[in-house]
Point group: C2
Chain length 434, copies 2
């Protein structure tokens, strides 16, 4: 079946085809201060505040009372309306942009509204799409967990005994989640100049083992009341949508600090996400089975179907200060042992209240080969091996001026891609020591 | 020096003497919906919204432009004004309530404003005082860390090598911080029915080892920009004030889940705080030296003075469903190895952005004796010993219907106490398993 075509010119290789319609927050050249909601479509964005203000939703009467959500500086109010509303709005906007739209008078044949609301993407700037209440990072990429566990404890003890029984996760730092394009300053922190010396004596200095973690992020649209867990069968209905996530990690800080309470300053200096939230519905055609778990899971984690992750083609690029770009990894979003629905069911099983705008990270996603790894730590085999990059250059960990760009896209049919665009960040040098 | 006296009748044993003036958020019998700011004074609260509306701040011209902060449902806007403003407002309110007030016309001789703004405490209800952005729990109570470490690893390895070099902490769950009086539902979670069996097989069930952690909480009034650490010399100026905190903990869930990423569901089902924020200035007379750290600390953690903790007399009461109350512990807020200023300097050293409303927990506070411990786990020696309570009854961990009440107060002079009031919570039975 040929993809539905649009009256708007959308490049065939765009991540933002008519099949996608991801939501974000923008400012425009015309109004640099006022943040508002938008959807990405091809090389354009539709400013939903301007669209709503001039009758854009007049053919969707059920939504009329809610259009003010698009004048907010985050998508939280829209998200909180719940999946049935997101579904309705996305389908409506798909129709508005379709060549055979039932409502050509709204935008297709309305030059004034096009001028007011349909902006070239390069005239707009994206911002953090949600106000994040709490951010939790899981560890569901079993290949990554196994690779890193092998480095530290040997292959026989690579995974902790709890790993296949529950989605291991920890509370992350919501305040340092930033949108793609935000520079990341190399952290100073306590590191062991000589990790093998006894007694261990840390020094304060810039991290020398600055790494990435290729992850998927999941935003919640609705939550639960404290003390009332979300049943696994309802968990997916609490998902708003997905983003790419780079959980920047300082491995030397992490090694020294993380026992017994987990990673802290090694992770809280910055986490980057892509700006456009791809709705769960848009990913529906790209479901794939989770990785097989040989361990029987408890009932509260049992899903009715196995295809509860997504086959998202993921790539990691490193661009050096010279401008040379190397693709370090090509992998898939399906390499997870646990689905986001399972993470939600587990997170709330003890009654923890979750809320609109909560962000969940999948954990680092790696395949089983050499060219499909989600962290430099795995590519450089624990810091022991140089990674070859273009221009006769090498890296073990990130240098100042390096840019990491994550990309993710589903499907292959030209004109019907459902993608995330990019999640990028450039490393700035550490600040002077205090 | 006799304490300054008030024209208002304040019980001599009140935690809320004229020397205190803690801030909170209330609703009143008259307006049950509209949250507003207040200060506690003796058996009354001063509704600051009503006070401001009728000229209460007319003799403090510098604050006139800011009075709208007291109509907010949280104290964040007031906190964000910074310590010099808090100091000015507290001193002003102390004068307003003083017997020799310079401004008797404002409240002392103004029956109408007293009627409108000075409410009997029992006619008001307290609420969570701040919107908490991020919550971080530290582990600075070295006696607790050492007691628990000894149980799990023996006395020789009780403390991890990093413990005396940095204030160990982890990111907690902001969404489940609740105000004193909120019931706490016992969590269900994965626990090992037989922890010594191999392979380890968890079951889902109600926690059987539900515990408390006696802590101090610290709210920030101002933060830092991402990438720009807060120097130790400035860290204390970012503190708004302090509360009592009970970090409810499910020990059996914790044991199974916490390696390698730290506590998660064992802690995220609820954390209780006392409702009245005692400003840093009010605690100034009660400074005490931190516990001695034999390890030299790095420069970014060095403080100019040693008396950077507070001698707060802390108590833990257990009240059974029968109503019998046992004081389980009497200890002091001074039993910390790290000050909150050091925690702030460490938290931000890598550039993590902190913000108005962030909550930091001290970690469990224990003394060195048998009757000054901050957790049941220490009192029951790892679950092996029954704790004697009134009515010929015993406890190891908490039973449904038990109420824990924390109290904290500084000073001993009647009429000049600076206290926190209470932080209490009653355990409800676990919900049915899903
Ligand atoms: Ca991660
Ligand atoms: Ca704690
Ligand atoms: Mg991170
Ligand atoms: Mg807690
Ligand atoms: Ni001012």
């Amino acid at each position: 079946m040929a993809p539905r075509s649009s009256w708007l010119s959308i490049p065939a290789d765009s991540h933002f085809s008519l099949a996608n319609i991801p939501f974000g927050i923008i400012t425009s050249r015309h109004s640099q201060i006022e943040k508002r909601a938008a959807v990405a479509i091809g090389d354009h964005v539709l400013d939903l505040k301007a669209f709503a203000a001039d009758g854009g939703f007049s053919a969707l009467p059920s939504f009329q009372e809610h259009v003010a959500v698009f004048s907010q500086p985050t998508l939280n109010a829209f998200a909180a309306l719940g999946q049935p509303v997101h579904r309705e709005v996305r389908a409506y906007l798909q129709d508005i942009f379709a060549a055979d739209t039932a409502h050509p008078e709204i935008l297709k044949d309305n030059a004034a509204l096009q001028k007011a609301a349909l902006l070239p993407k390069h005239d707009t700037k994206t911002h953090l799409p949600m106000q994040i209440g709490d951010y939790t990072d899981f560890f569901a990429g079993i290949n990554h967990a196994s690779n890193v566990g092998t480095m530290f404890r040997g292959a026989a003890n690579a995974l902790q005994p709890n790993y296949t029984h529950l989605p291991v996760g920890y509370h992350g730092r919501a305040s340092s989640v930033v949108v793609s394009g935000t520079p990341i300053r190399r952290p100073n922190g306590q590191i062991l100049a000589d990790p093998s010396a006894e007694p261990k004596v840390p020094v304060l200095g810039p991290s020398r083992r600055l790494d990435i973690e290729l992850e998927l992020g999941c935003f919640l649209c609705t939550g639960n009341r404290m003390g009332e867990p979300i049943p696994i069968g309802e968990a997916a209905s609490h998902i708003f949508g997905f983003v790419l996530m780079n959980d920047w990690s300082a491995r030397d800080i992490q090694t020294w600090e993380y026992v017994p309470l987990g990673p802290f300053n090694a992770k809280n200096f910055g986490t980057s996400i892509s700006p456009w939230i791809v709705l769960a519905d848009a990913l529906e055609p790209f479901r794939a089975p989770k990785l097989k778990n040989e361990t029987p899971v408890l009932d509260y984690l049992k899903e009715e179907r196995e295809d509860t992750v997504y086959d998202i083609q993921l790539e990691v690029d490193l661009t050096t200060p010279d401008g040379g770009t190397t693709t370090l990894s090509r992998t898939s979003g399906k390499y997870l042992l646990w689905s986001f629905a399972q993470m939600i069911a587990h997170h709330s099983i003890g009654g923890c209240p979750m809320a609109t705008g909560d962000l969940l990270g999948s954990g680092t996603i790696s395949g089983t080969g050499k060219n499909d790894l989600g962290s430099l730590l795995e590519m450089n085999e624990g810091g022991k091996k140089e990674i070859m990059i273009v221009g006769m250059d090498v890296r073990t960990f990130l240098l100042d001026g390096d840019t990491i760009t994550l990309r993710g896209v589903c499907g292959g049919e030209p004109g019907a891609l459902v993608g995330f665009g990019e999640c990028s960040g450039t490393i700035l040098s550490a600040p002077d020591l205090p």
